[in-house]
Subunit: 259 residues, 2 copies
DNA sequence: AAGGTAATTGCACATAGTGCAATAACACTT
DNA sequence: AAGTGTTATTGCACTATGTGCAATTACCTT
């Protein structure tokens, strides 16, 4: 779905403190009160009170050397609790590890959140590029195999809203930037039962994804397998596609999907 | 330091919404509005407004099938941003990987937050038990090698406050539960320059830790190496102690420490 | 159709949250 | 050591927001 609908009686101060966390996350470095008040659009004394309240709760901390504010470790705690609570992760884990070993590639699970794909788990094969963990990271839906798979199972109106809001930026020369071309491809993805990112997200890398269903018979996530084009060659692709589709089906069955 | 001091003008609604995240994290499963209002000590309509405000911001979501509330994926996003911003992680990473390969064990970095140790990074050797990632997890300071190392570099009053608040629960038969015994051990740790968890946190597992300093010449984190007692034998310990101390020194130098 | 339970919302009122201005803290310059 | 500038912090008065209450809505069970 596109951007979340603002509730009729949102609590302003609650919204502000969560926006403070967003801003600190987005900024990438510690921020002064002046910067915070400018970004939040509030008086500096208000920014101070928001920051000190968040500090008291552990979500923000102040660097004693520079007096600037940054995210606090409670954020890690809460995220960890979230990951721990995700049924899909727990159920999928053994299957992902098996697939990672069998394929010797990197396996990920993504969900769609606010129009972007979010990585919620990852398993690595021995020969993988050993990239940093992507868990928690976001990526544009239109340029990833998992994202295209998830878009393929949304209503057309929702797809249009997402692409209107996020755009279709080109990440590589191969990225699809035309709505019509993407629509056609989503239709093909529904027909084939798998999706592919052919150097659309990252040059030199290919990715194949299959849908994960749950007991409501709806697609809730995508399972993907990715690696360098040298190993994701035309000869090897059919095998990898087959592996990821079988694995996704096995996980879906454990999630209550009846196919 | 012990529990954070409440600011004179904390913003109640800001505090409440962050407490909501805490409660959802702590509960471990989705919660109804009734439960949320009871735990927060507010009217159910207030709980509803807090929850829908947090939903709008992405930190909470509502399960459409049960109408219950749970943590939202924005929590992952913010935590990821936090990890990405930690200088110590970025600087330490190559050293940790080298140590993990060299020792073939699990290497972690922990910091002290609100009287507990928090795992902020981890690298694994090939022979490791391949445990789930601990990043973001907390553990009692008194029962971990990293925790004892961090306690050893605090003022005695702070140590007392932390132990008074968190207690000294026995996690295994070997866990130290006497303040006097722990104090004596912290003194020994300062003298030796490393700490050890001898099946105090987890039976069958040993852990050795060394301090990480930064340019202020103070201890900001602990580097640890852990594994099963079979590999952390009396014969092998001196080697592992030496490896972790050298690695910690190298990381500390990169952090501006002059020893 | 009726009853029960929980989520949601309109409304009026009280208080919490706010901006302003003053103060405090610190670093830098002279 | 004193003065200046900048940023963080806080007391205060006012008002806009947040609140609880009660009603409504939604859904499930009998």
């Amino acid at each position: 779905m596109a951007r979340r609908k603002k509730p009729a009686a949102a609590i302003q101060s609650a919204e502000r403190v969560l926006s403070l966390l967003d801003i600190l996350a987005q900024e990438g470095t510690e921020m002064s009160l002046t910067q915070i008040s400018q970004r939040l659009g509030v008086h500096i004394s208000t920014a101070h009170r928001l920051a000190t309240t968040a500090m008291y709760c552990g979500y923000v901390e102040q660097n004693p050397e520079t007096d600037k504010y940054r995210l606090g470790l409670k954020c890690l705690h809460v995220a960890n609790a979230l990951l721990h609570q995700l049924d899909l992760r727990r159920i999928a884990r053994p299957f992902m590890e098996k697939l990672a070993e069998e394929s010797d590639e990197t396996v990920n699970i993504c969900v769609l959140d606010d129009g972007e794909v979010v990585y919620i788990d990852k398993a690595e094969g021995g020969a993988s590029l050993r990239l940093f963990s992507r868990i928690g990271k976001r990526a544009p839906a239109h340029a990833t195999a998992a994202g295209k798979m998830l878009l393929a199972h949304l209503a057309l109106g929702d797809v249009e809203a997402i692409l209107k809001e996020h755009g279709m930026p080109a990440l590589t020369p191969q990225t699809i930037t035309s709505f019509d071309e993407l629509s056609a491809q989503l239709q093909e993805i529904r027909r084939l039962g798998y999706s592919m990112d052919d150097e659309e997200c990252e040059e030199g890398a290919r990715c194949v994804a299959a849908p994960l269903y749950d007991h409501t018979q709806r697609v809730i996530a995508a399972l993907s397998i990715s690696g360098p084009v040298s190993r994701f060659s035309v000869e090897n692709l059919p095998r990898l596609i087959s592996l990821v589709r079988e694995c996704a089906r096995d996980i879906s069955q454990q999630m209550g999907y009846a196919d």
